[in-house]
Amino acid sequence: MSGSLGGAVAGLAAAVALVAVAILGLRAAGSRRRRALARLRPAAELALAAVLASEAEPPQPVTRRERLVLADVALEALAELRGAEHGRLGELLARLGYVDEAAAALRARGRFRRRRAAELLALSGVAAAAPALRGGLDDCDALVRTICARGLAEIAGEPVGPIRRAVERDVAAVPGAAAAVVLALGAARPAELAELLGPDVEPRVRALALRVAGELRLSAHAPFLRAALADGGTVAASAARGAGLIGDVEAVAALEALVDGGTEPGLRVAAARALGSIGDPMSAPVLGRALGAQDWSVRSAAASALAQLGPPGIEALVQAPPIAQAQAKVALEG
């Protein structure tokens, strides 16, 4: 009995030792691989930099590791660049076969491989990537879908409808990735952002698009922002912020109504801040009344806005009610 127990324990110890050796071996191999890739990186960086800065011959990676490192460096560069150099780098990747490789990898079983492939296709910006990106909109992984949508958003001539459907489908699951799609569309094709600004668009997507229109100062979309002020919630708050960033004086009356008569503190705050950004001194009385709000964030926003309106605003701060003394003091000292 004790012999068989001793045998079992010895067998178990041997198995654990084997597993430990295997794990250490894999880690060592991984570490060697990373060091090998790191050694190749400076040459790849210099080669790409030379191609983009001059008419240098493009690199011709030979080994699988060289291709891997060049793709990594190119991905990083594509994310940092815009303009002619971005276009040339995308074309170079297509010539070296990376776009075709990535299009094939977009059908891989592993989602991380598909995500990396989608990222390269999306960043390349070349029209040749569009068919694969369109196919990627039906992927089972939300990140692959949104990365593909982002890529399509930056390719001129691609219809916005499938991009919109992808964002509406995934905005709840991956809101950051969805926001990146909307931002990409607004930056690359500002006029077409209008297709995400109407009342029929999913509210979270619409709020993102209103926010992007404001952040990118797309004043052509001011009518959409004004219309959205009536919708309440995050849609109206995003529209208010956007109207302030654009400096839309035609939105002042609607913003003042939100500050005066609004019931949602978040919306009153957004509207007050927008009035401060627009800077119309005639808004001082409305903002002065908001200094008496129960919610401290509304009082604070009103005080900050008044400080941006010149003498009428300063006067309202000096005469602030007791409940707003602290906020008025901060605003006056700012």
Binding site: R41, L52, A53, G83
Partner: protein, 123 residues
């Protein structure tokens, strides 16, 4: 004419350096804020291309230190930054940053801004 490029991403640093070398500048490279400050003081470049987010000392800390030193207070600076918000731009302008290049950036545009900043500084 020497230009110092301070950027922690080796890929971006080499891209910018290659562009500026093609324009005829002698390019020095720094991979963090401390190195950037040390090189700016020792090499006295004609201009500094500076990333806002860097290890050890960030871009704004480097600008502040340079502006407080009479030997480097007039050094023209072009700052590379993530999609710049208004507060960042205002902070930078108050510190004396000549030009802002939001990322993603165009190396050709950067090249032109470097040339103009050096011209304005009379170097």
């Amino acid at each position: 004419m020497k230009v110092l490029v301070a950027e922690d991403s080796s890929t971006v640093r080499r891209l910018v350096a290659a562009r500026l070398v093609a324009d005829g500048y002698d390019v020095l490279e720094a991979e963090d804020g401390e190195q950037a400050l040390a090189l700016a003081r020792s090499e006295r470049p004609a201009l500094l291309v500076l990333d806002k987010v860097m290890p050890k000392l960030d871009g704004f800390e480097v600008v502040r230190a340079l502006r407080e030193d009479p030997a480097t207070s007039a050094l023209p600076i072009v700052m590379l930054t993530e999609r710049a918000n208004e507060d960042d731009v205002l902070d930078g302008l108050r510190l004396g940053v000549e030009e802002y290049m939001p990322k993603p950036f165009s190396p050709r545009e950067l090249s032109e801004r470097v040339r103009r900043a050096i011209e304005r500084a009379g170097r």
